[in-house]
């Protein structure tokens, strides 16, 4: 085994990830190689120091100290705001829509559909062109024009006779 290979295998031995054969090979190499023996001692010292380092105790009441911070953050977090209000907002908006719809239904007067004069005449089974027909049958073209003008003026005034 070469020193470079031994270096990698050595670290695997410290990790407990080497096979029994590799372990044996390393041990044999260490017997014959002083440089790798030195490395092995150094690694051992480092690992013992790192792994044996004492860990300080966590401060007491960790959760009790965390709770108010958590509640404070939750107030402004969009997801939690939505979760808190969505449960109330959905039925509330449905109720509002229902109230507004019923108010409109009750208070807004319903208008019957208006029919035009032509439609009224057609419903009465009368000819809507009857009045104009009489005018067009006049002798003079000038009279016809004047009569048509007066008829249209009458229509605007609201007084209209469909019969000549």
């Amino acid at each position: 085994m070469k020193c470079k290979q031994a270096d990698r295998y050595l670290l695997r031995v410290f990790d407990g990830k080497s096979s029994q054969t590799d372990k044996q090979d390393i041990e044999n190499h260490l017997i014959s190689c002083s440089s790798c023996r030195k490395k092995e001692r150094e690694y051992r010292l480092i690992f013992e120091t790192l792994r044996g380092a004492p860990t300080p105790d966590i401060k007491p009441y960790f959760w009790q100290r965390l709770q108010p911070r958590l509640r404070e953050r939750k107030k402004f977090e969009p997801w939690f705001v939505w979760k808190r209000w969505s449960l109330r907002a959905v039925p509330l908006s449905l109720l509002t829509v229902a109230i507004v719809t019923s108010l409109i239904w009750v208070f807004v007067p319903r208008r019957s559909p208006e029919l035009s004069q032509t439609e009224v005449l057609l419903l009465r089974n009368l000819n809507p062109l009857q009045e104009n027909q009489a005018i067009l049958e006049q002798d003079s073209a000038e009279n016809q024009g004047m009569m048509l003008i007066f008829t249209s003026l009458d229509e605007q005034g609201g007084k209209r006779s469909y019969f000549p």
Binding site: L50, A53, T55, I58, L66
Partner: protein, 185 residues
């Protein structure tokens, strides 16, 4: 109660369920952060931040890994971000380090190494702090906290092969840093 059940209850707004999760993992999260910062007060603050972050992100947790692993990943990333922002921890890039700095560091380390076991520990950790962040992180996770390779891979979001090679390099770097002092330790 199982983690999964506690997580579901916490998602529904049950604070006590989350409290049980906190009590289960607080020590481990605190130790992990403490090993990275070497400052118990700061570690306590950061651990609280980690649990708040985890609580607010609980809806994103999809049980692809263990809850603990997910929590440790948040802890590692949060601590890394904090240390980068504050630069409270000495971070000396190994690639850019100058020889004079090494000598100064070694002199300081030598003086400390001449004293008690506590000082030996300080020396090793001081040397560890001078490693690049990714190497410092992996030694902390493996050699200080004792996480298995597979979990380290999940925490750092890297392949297990990367953990192996990075750890090997980190340990070599640390030994190289400490080499002049190890004889006296």
């Amino acid at each position: 109660m199982e983690d999964r059940e506690l997580i579901e209850k916490s998602r529904e707004g049950d604070e006590e369920a989350f409290g049980m999760l906190v009590k289960k993992y607080e020590k481990k999260v605190f130790n992990l952060i403490c090993s990275l910062t070497r400052n118990p007060d700061l570690a306590d603050d950061l651990a609280q931040d980690v649990f708040i972050k985890a609580y607010l992100a609980l809806n994103k947790f999809q049980h692809r890994s263990e809850f603990g692993t997910w929590l440790y990943r948040i802890a590692v990333n949060h601590t890394k971000d904090f240390l980068r922002k504050k630069s409270s921890m000495p971070h000396v890039s190994f690639d850019t380090i100058e020889q004079t700095t090494i000598l100064q560091e070694d002199e300081t380390l030598k003086r400390e190494a001449e004293q008690s076991e506590e000082q030996r520990r300080q020396t090793v950790f001081k040397a560890l702090e001078t490693l690049p962040e990714k190497h410092r992180m992996i030694i902390n996770l493996r050699d200080v906290q004792g996480f298995p390779y597979e979990e380290i891979a999940r925490i750092l979001s890297v392949r297990p092969g990367t953990v192996d090679s990075r750890l090997h390099r980190a340990r070599k770097l640390l030994r190289k840093k400490l080499e002049p002092l190890l004889a006296s330790l």
